[in-house]
Amino acid sequence: MRTYVFKRFGQAVLVLWAAYTVSFLLLSALPGDAVHNRIQNPEAQISPEQAQVLIEYYGLDRPLWEQYGSALTAAVHGDLGYSLTDGRAVTELVGAALPSTLALTGLALLFGVVFSVLIGIVANYAPWKSVREVVGSFPALFGSIPTFVVGILLLQLFSFGFRLIPASDDGSFVALLAPAVTLGVLVAAPLAQVFTSSIRSARAQPFAHVLHARGAGQVYVFRRGVLRNSSMPVLTLLGLACGELIAGAVVTEAVFARPGIGQLTVGAVSTQDLPVLQGVVLVAALAYVTVNFVVDVAYPFIDPRVMVNSKARRHNGRGVTTKATAGAVDREPAALPSLRVPRRLPVEMSMP
């Protein structure tokens, strides 16, 4: 387990470093122009001395690899440079914007998961075919509506129509609901799609039929077998969906006029504030990498089969399996002993 975690951590750091390098090459290396534009802009009123400081700070008088080296060293120490517009530190700007966006994306993720679980269950288990089909088409519908349209409609309906929620962010929880639902719809689309189809395929697997044949009810089969098997692809997707969340936050925050990373991005874009933009990209990549690292580490706990692939774990994995199976059988001499699914075995393999 430890080697697995270390390996994943190493990969995460590598991806982060590469993301920084790509964004540096894309944004920091090219915009010699942006700094010079800023200096030459009469509105900015930068004196020649200040201009010299700026040029030296961004290392525009040095070769590219030296600029990269010092920028990377500074980034590792938590210095992402300074905004070109108001001279505040990028870390400070991002830090100020982050809590609001985290609250939004966190709640949105919760909504997204709830929506997709509801859709997945109703689309597979509703007793009426028409309901199953209509609900089953929701993911495709959700995926076809642009986020800004969802946001505008929700805002119009609930804050101007029914006057249930404040039209602008006043820091209250209620003001957070509509944007979070907007963003939740965005992430629910792929999640619900995958969850619906993976529940369908898990239900069609032999172990589900065997459980039914042995008299297990629909709820039992779902809880003990189908849910676990069908949540694996969703979990993987959840990691990927976090990238979508941050991008969606840009649009959502613009629609609802909420402060946050999105507003920071739009502002930085309109003033061509490249250091801030690079900071945002880096934070987004950091969030993505962190979430995927957590998902990777959580994986073996939900599906121990992942560990079987790494050689070192194979032996240990088997040992645990044998014990668990033996224990389960010993403890349950009653009616359906082997129906008890041992925690450490994939469900379909545990069935006779």
Partner: protein, 307 residues
């Protein structure tokens, strides 16, 4: 309508419908076959119809409306939908229906450019990585992992900003290219896996053994065998590109006014949503309908590819 004759109608039906229909051996009259096919594929038919209308709007907008989408007429400010102006008029007295019809050109052109860039860059990278393998493959795939770890929309925004920093203004084409470059990673992955799949097959082994050049194998085997899955991905990406480009325009990073573009129309109409909701609703519906249509067509294509 030639597809209909080829389509094996019984294979597509749901199991329970099979038993209720005619006896399976009775040869169907062609009209019955058409009716049954339409009955089970009506969603697809509507999708194709919607997409065709949007395509025609984009190609020959003048045939659908005689109003000018850009000329300002101050006497016609903010009219409600009527017989003359189907979708009403906007603040500058421009007919909204005409703007949506002409907007199809911007939206579909942008999406097509984006997908073309993505297919070109993605298949080149994916094919090279999949065919030659080795160190190049590893490096390319790692690079693509990195690309995918930066949220695509942010990356597209960054590229647009770079362009804007150089030229001083945003535009539809740079936005489309940015979207294309960001989504090319998806194509690279797909093409790579397709190439690997075809490469491992016996007929490619046989072709190589009998002296076929790499170029011949790619042209005769790899491309024909991966077309089906690629086309279905293209259809999905077309819908995604429409949404992304509309979102970029909505944020002011894509098409610039007075050019009619669906995302821009929504953002313009938004100011009057409380009193004149149709200004927002109609362009939004246009986006949703076309994206739904492309998604449905793609789903059908991928089903056919899997068969």
């Amino acid at each position: 309508m030639s597809i209909i004759a080829v389509e094996p109608s019984t294979a597509d039906l749901e199991p329970h419908e099979k038993s209720t229909g005619l006896a399976p051996r009775t040869p169907l009259s062609s009209s019955t076959a058409v009716a049954r096919w339409l009955g089970s594929h009506w969603v697809l038919v509507i999708s194709i119809a919607v997409f065709s209308v949007a395509l025609l709007w984009a190609l020959i907008p003048g045939a659908f409306t005689h109003y000018d989408p850009i000329a300002i007429d101050n006497g016609l400010k903010l009219r409600s939908p009527s017989a003359e102006h189907w979708f009403g008029t906007d603040l500058l007295g421009r007919d909204l229906y005409a703007r949506i019809v002409y907007g199809a050109r911007a939206s579909l052109l942008g999406a097509s450019i984006a997908v073309a860039v993505a297919v070109f860059v993605g298949s080149a990278l994916g094919a090279v990585a999949g065919w030659f393998g080795g160190l190049g493959d590893t490096i390319l795939m790692r690079l693509i992992d990195v690309l995918l770890s930066i949220p695509g929309f942010l990356l597209a925004i960054s590229i647009v900003v770079l362009y804007t920093a150089r030229t001083g203004h945003a535009g539809l084409v740079p936005a489309a290219i940015a979207v294309g470059l960001t989504t090319s990673a998806t194509f690279a992955r797909l093409i790579r896996s397709e190439v690997l799949r075809v490469r491992a097959s016996n007929y490619v082994e046989a072709a190589i053994t009998s002296g076929a050049t790499t170029f011949t194998v790619v042209r005769r085997h790899v491309i024909p065998n991966s077309v089906a899955t690629t086309v279905s991905l293209i259809a999905v990406q077309l819908g995604i590109a429409i949404i992304w480009i509309a979102s970029l325009s909505f944020l002011g990073l894509g098409a610039q006014p007075p050019e009619p573009e669906w995302g821009l129309l929504v953002s313009d109409g938004r100011k009057y949503i409380a009193t004149r909701g149709w200004l927002t609703l109609f362009p939004a519906l246009a986006i949703i309908a076309v994206v739904l249509a492309t998604n449905n067509i793609s789903r059908h294509l991928s089903k056919r590819a899997a068969r």
